[in-house]
């Protein structure tokens, strides 16, 4: 028999191990994420929240909820953004996002009117952050105009900047930029699509005609 033959038999024996190399990716990842969190290494945890407006990617740091993305955003892009802007230590960890998913569920089931979640504001800066922080004070079911928002953020004439702050909102729904509308009564734009804005306002009992 040639050397090659017995090499092939050996390779076959060795490769036979590969058949059993199927693994439970979910279990492995969640065990890793749990240990990472325990050691303070889970800089960004993310999960998917199923909502009536579609699956949303939600992400939190140890400080709080840092990002929520509508279905229109490519998850890989959002994760790359988080890796770049926050930390590359980004791991899927549904358990870490349980409180966020629970509050979102309650909101969409009309059992919750405000969110009790810690927020991490680090993805917005300067006036945009001020405008978004002012947004959180707008009560459920009420709307303000872009210039009213600019005023409550401390810069009455910055209604355009207030508009772009809403457009760049990293944590939509929880930071309720859907409650900001045009002065003339028009809905204005929305990152998740105008039909989502309409849906959210409708959910909160605001008439949008």
């Amino acid at each position: 028999m040639s050397t090659q033959t017995s090499f092939n038999a050996l390779e076959r024996d060795l490769r036979a191990g590969l058949d059993k190399a199927g693994d439970d990716a979910g279990a492995i990842t969640s065990r890793l994420a749990e240990r990472a969190a325990g050691e303070g290494l889970l800089d960004v945890a993310y999960a998917t929240a199923d909502t009536p407006v579609g699956p949303m990617l939600i992400a939190a740091t140890p400080r709080g909820l840092v990002r929520a993305a509508f279905p229109g955003e490519e998850p890989d892009d959002v994760l790359a953004e988080l890796a770049r802007e926050v930390s590359p230590r980004v791991l899927e960890s549904p358990a870490e996002l349980d409180p966020v998913r629970r509050e979102l569920d309650e909101y969409f089931e009309q059992r919750r009117r405000s969110f009790d979640l810690p927020l991490d504001w680090r993805l917005s800066h300067g006036f945009r952050r001020e405008a978004l922080r002012a947004l959180v004070r707008i009560p459920y079911g009420e709307t303000v105009t872009y210039s009213e928002l600019a005023t409550s953020a401390g810069s009455p004439r910055a209604h355009r900047a207030a508009g772009s702050a809403c457009g760049s909102n990293p944590i939509p729904i929880v930071v309720p930029c859907h409650r900001v509308v045009r002065t003339g009564g028009g809905l204005g734009g929305y990152g998740g699509g105008i039909e989502v804005k309409e849906y959210l306002l409708g959910l909160e009992g605001v008439s949008t005609e």
């Binding site: 490769r15 590969l18 190399a21 890796a83 590359p88 980004v90 791991l91």
Partner: protein, 164 residues
């Protein structure tokens, strides 16, 4: 976005999970592979921000190799039960690999050959990546796998294998 930018750790994990687990199954046996796997990726997570610009697959396999060595050292320090000879235990823990006897023998080769065979036949990597993971050239990796197979063949006895 620059090319050297680190992917999110989850992407990195998804990309290298299978070869690392396959490699560790061959290096420490299926029973202990998952623990070593967790240790490997936890260590990788700790050092991850400093891995920018590296060949990430070679990098994580180097960590895995170190964890396998740590595992063997810890095991060697642990007193073995008198009634249980080490050889039997090692055979048992490798049964899940299918080619149980072959892998048990691989464990007795030189550390370099063992790693090379595990990278080739359990992690299923091309020689170029094996070379990167072992810090050597593609040609040297190919040679090391070949030498490992040669040593194995002698060990297992050509007669029984060739009769198959």
């Amino acid at each position: 976005m620059s090319a050297a930018e680190l992917p999110p750790f989850q992407t990195f994990l998804d990309e290298h999970r299978r070869p690392v687990l396959g490699f560790l199954r061959a290096m420490v046996g299926p029973n202990d592979a998952e623990d070593c796997f967790q240790e490997t990726f936890l260590a990788a997570l700790r050092a991850y921000p400093r891995a920018e610009g590296r060949n990430l697959r070679a990098w994580v396999l180097t960590i895995a190799r170190r964890k396998a060595i740590d595992h063997h050292r810890a095991r060697a320090r642990r007193p073995e039960p008198v009634a249980e000879p080490p050889a039997v235990e090692s055979d048992e823990s490798r049964d899940g690999l299918g080619g149980g006897e072959a892998w048990a023998r691989v464990a007795e080769l030189s550390a370099g050959q063992q790693a090379a065979l595990a990278l080739r036949f359990a992690a299923d990597l091309p020689y170029r990546e094996i070379g990167a993971a072992l810090g050597t050239s593609e040609a040297a990796a190919r040679r090391r796998v070949h030498d490992g197979l040669e040593a194995l063949r002698e060990w297992l006895g050509t007669t029984t294998k060739e009769d198959l």
